[in-house]
């Protein structure tokens, strides 16, 4: 059933005319042109569609839009403030924590959710929290490093004992 619904996305109040059962992912991407949030699997198993709802990570591909009405939704587009990137975004670039970049939005959002409740997570806590997000290019070690840089638990890009001969 179609209904006008009020949403708060990236600190903006918006109205959309949409079926209440529509997954939030499609409302963001198709109705609001916020395409930084990605489709990956449609069953909450890869994390590409992650958004923050009241600061906590949610999988937008399985979340009916009706459920988030009136809540604060933050997408990757809302992470940058006044042209300045979020520390996680800076850290992902610094640690070269991406290849194709398709998982990156979801990774940054999931990591932001972790840092919101646990500003200095241990490596084990990072792995546990991030385990629901898939990077098919295999940049996991770099993503862990990026989160540690953003959290301030790692100062530098990890050398990970790389040597060149």
């Amino acid at each position: 059933m179609t209904k006008v619904i009020d949403l708060n996305v990236n600190a903006k109040k918006l109205r959309v005319d949409v079926d209440l059962q529509t997954p939030l992912l499609y409302v963001l991407r198709d109705h609001l042109n916020l395409t930084g949030t990605k489709y990956g699997c449609g069953e909450a198993k890869c994390g590409a569609c992650s958004v923050l709802v009241d600061g906590v990570v949610m999988r937008s591909c399985v979340t009916p839009v009706a459920r988030v009405s009136g809540k604060q939704i933050t997408t990757i587009e809302g992470m940058e403030k006044d042209g300045k990137m979020h520390p996680l975004q800076e850290a992902f670039l610094k640690a070269d924590a991406l290849q194709c970049g398709y998982c990156t939005s979801g990774m940054i959002i999931a990591a932001a959710s972790l840092l919101n409740k646990n500003p200095k997570p241990s490596r084990e806590e990072i792995v546990k929290h991030m385990d629901a997000n898939v990077c098919r290019c295999g940049t996991y070690p770099r993503i862990v490093n990026a989160i540690e840089i953003a959290a301030g638990t790692a100062k530098e890009v990890a050398k990970r004992s790389t040597r060149s001969t």
Binding site: T75, Q89, S105, R136, T139, R142
Partner: protein, 722 residues
């Protein structure tokens, strides 16, 4: 190699030679419009590479194809009157970071900063023909070509600047994107030199490029050039695109592979406001103003399919053996297997098997198609824009000039995006609706209707002397492919053959092709031979290696791993080495196994890699590490389950992918050989992990596993000593 780019197409890129997904009703009017007169003999416009390769095969009986690629400088690099440098290449960016490495190459030769170089990639109307982004070819072939073009552009611009000043060109140089005269008293910008020019030149054959030893931009860890767009969500992948008036498409899929349409009822879908149903032969699709309506319309269509019975996993390997051809690849035998066996103290015959696995690129196949006055434009994530253009032209019976394919930087491919099914489907929907149509495959469609890394059976018979010298090596690969089937080991008597077979599933290229399968079988077999003669695994390999580069990577991995140190309690270790596509890899792995459950844990991996001179150390490290991580899936648990033409585990909740918690401690050793040209690095680092892990499992448990994946349910069957 001369100026021409040479392209080799490997045999097992099956998807390049398969027929088109659809062949719509031939439109006679379209043909007559394109044809200007005379007699027409209609030849199916098949894929250009396949056709060239077929000709080669017909002529020589060998499966190798070469193509000349145009090298006009205007087509490659363009400096406009505002001084902007644009580089045109048909290559595709899928996360391998060639947009960055090619920018480095051009900036270096032009003597300009990175930020004024713009790389235009993979647009069939703007970029020169390119066969495709595969085979780790960009770095060894495209980069030197662009370097030459950039060097020629620099010399041309310098000559123009010298002319303006009425001085000798030798006294003019470029510094930081400005031309300066001998004492730097005068300077000109790129724009000031390029203004008012209309000059097209061909790259002179003798143009000199910067020697590796003088690199200042290449060889450094430059960050991903458009990295900010990715971390901020601004980058528009194909699946993110929106065109004016665009509709959203869905395709009604058959019940199984090989299924034929028996009947369909589309009335339910047609009754939904805004929905357009398109039927053409076996193709049924819908287009709607939004995604949700399109999905609803697709579900409202009642279809009856009939599919024949087809083999499943249980019969797979028997089928591949039974349907195998006589040898098609491999090469001439060396020496004599009979003599080699006579000289041996021990013989070993073993069989290895390799499962089908899926690429599962995180961005599924996607396309946006629109028709404007008979011209078709398609944005799509493919590794072969020109190949997809051919497929579209063939499907719609229009000349290739009427088709434009544009590839935005894409959400990965790993060899899985060589074909144009999704582009054709979107274009078919767009043609009937008269509006742009976006089609994004669901994850389930990506599993069921794309193609897989080939499954295979490999048989090895070998002989070894008690001192560790391998005297005979007979190797037969059934179906998985011929890549890296040849070995860099110094075996005096060899017979190595590849046999085609009939695959029950659609199969095709995968990162490294069959190099993973062939390395798995070879390197596990080497471990078994070492066990037979009770030798250390590294010493045994070194005994059979003359190739210095292979020796170097093996020793580098062993040293970094601490191979000569005492093993940790409860850990097993294994090693493997190899060569493919111009680069060398050695991988050492350490595993542990939970005694109660038999659960395997990969604890530590060391990979040493050498691909000549390193272009960008940070991105190379990322590639090698990523390959190791991706390899974990194929080594331990990825395995396509199928029966009767249906993929039974075709979604992420059923198909296990490597995740954060699967990560071992990974140590990458990069060997920089500034005396050697750079080879590609996107594929080869993936091949060493599976055998190293298999050998490590044996080391710990004495259980020898000869099939990939090694632990399909995460568990190794417990051996007698465990």
């Amino acid at each position: 190699m001369k100026d021409d780019l040479q392209l080799e197409v490997e045999l097992e890129r099956y998807e390049l030679f398969s027929g088109p997904a659809y062949n719509f009703t031939f439109n006679r009017r379209q043909f007559l419009k394109a044809f200007s007169g005379g007699i027409a003999l209609i030849v199916p416009m098949s894929n250009l590479i396949a056709r060239t390769l077929q000709q080669e095969q017909d002529e020589s009986g060998r499966g190798r194809g070469n193509q000349r690629i145009p090298n006009d400088i205007g087509a490659w690099i363009h400096i406009d009157e505002s001084g902007t440098v644009s580089v045109f290449t048909g290559k595709v960016e899928l996360g391998q970071n060639i947009r960055t490495s090619l920018t480095q190459a051009v900036a270096e030769e032009l003597h300009v900063p990175l930020n004024i170089v713009r790389v235009v990639m993979a647009d069939t109307d703007l970029t020169p023909f390119d066969a495709g982004t595969f085979g780790s070819r960009t770095t060894p072939t495209m980069a030197p070509q662009l370097r030459k073009a950039a060097a020629a552009a620099r010399e041309t611009l310098i000559a123009l600047a010298a002319e303006q000043w009425q001085v000798e060109p030798a006294t003019v140089r470029i510094e930081n994107a400005r031309f300066v005269n001998h004492d730097a008293s005068k300077s000109l910008t790129l724009a000031e030199v390029a203004k008012g020019q209309k000059l097209i030149k061909t790259i002179p054959p003798d143009v000199a490029i910067t020697p590796i030893s003088n690199w200042t931009i290449a060889g450094t860890s430059v960050a991903k050039v458009n990295g900010r767009d990715f971390v901020t969500g601004k980058h528009q992948y194909t699946s993110d695109m929106k065109r004016e008036g665009m509709l959203y498409g869905r395709v009604v899929r058959p019940s199984a592979l090989e299924a034929k349409l028996v009947s369909s009822d589309t009335k339910g879908a047609e009754a939904i406001p805004g929905v357009i149903v398109v039927r053409d032969g076996n193709f049924i699709g819908v287009a709607a103003p939004d995604n949700q309506t399109a999905i609803r319309a697709e579900k409202a269509i009642a279809v009856h399919w009939q599919a024949p019975g087809q083999p499943g996993n249980a019969e797979l390997f028997d089928q591949l053996k039974k349907n195998a051809s006589a040898s098609r690849g491999g090469g001439r035998p060396v020496g004599s297997i009979v003599e080699g066996m006579k000289a041996a103290d021990k013989e070993l015959n073993q069989t290895y098997t390799i499962a089908y696995i899926a690429h599962a690129p995180l961005e599924p196949r996607a396309a946006v198609a629109e028709w404007n006055e008979g011209k078709l434009t398609v944005w799509t994530g493919t590794q072969r824009p020109f190949g997809v253009r051919s497929e579209l032209a063939e499907a719609f019976h229009i000349p290739e000039e009427k088709v434009r394919v544009i590839v935005p930087d894409t959400g990965s491919g790993y060899g899985g995006k060589h074909t144009g099914e999704c582009a054709i489907e979107a274009a078919r929907l767009a043609r009937s609706t008269g509006k742009p149509v976006k089609l994004v495959w669901s994850r389930e469609e990506e599993f069921q209707w794309a193609y897989f890394r080939p499954a295979g059976v490999i048989e090895i018979g070998s002989g070894v002397k008690n001192d560790g010298v391998v005297t005979a090596w007979e190797f037969h690969n059934y179906n998985s492919g011929a890549s890296a089937i040849q070995t860099k080991y110094d075996f005096p008597n060899q017979n190595i053959q590849f046999h085609n077979s009939k695959s029950p599933l659609r199969q095709g290229s995968y990162r490294g092709l069959a190099a993973t399968a062939n390395h798995f079988a070879r390197e596990v077999h080497m471990d078994e031979l070492a066990e037979l003669v009770k030798m250390d695994r590294v010493s045994f390999r070194l005994k059979n290696i003359k190739d210095e580069r292979l020796k170097n990577v093996l020793e580098a991995a062993a040293n970094a791993f601490g191979w000569d140190k005492k093993k940790s309690e409860g850990r097993g270790r294994g090693i493997a080495c190899g060569f493919e596509k111009g680069s060398y890899i050695a991988t050492a792995a350490e595993v542990s196994i939970e005694t109660k459950t038999g659960r395997v844990k990969l604890e530590r991996v060391v990979a040493s890699f050498e691909c000549g001179a390193i272009v960008n150390k940070m991105h190379l490290h990322n590639q090698v590490e990523g390959a190791v991580v991706q390899a974990i899936g194929g080594a331990l648990f990825e395995n396509i389950q199928f029966q009767n033409g249906q993929i039974l585990n075709g979604k992420f909740s059923r198909y296990r992918l490597p995740r954060f918690s699967d990560m071992p401690v990974i140590d990458i050793v990069l060997l920089d050989r500034k005396d050697l040209p750079s080879a590609g690095a996107g594929e080869t680092p993936i091949v060493g992990l599976a055998p190293a892990v298999g050998n490590a499992i044996f080391d710990l448990t004495r259980v020898r596993i000869r099939s990939l994946p090694l632990a399909p349910n995460g568990v190794v069957i417990r051996g007698p000593t465990l």
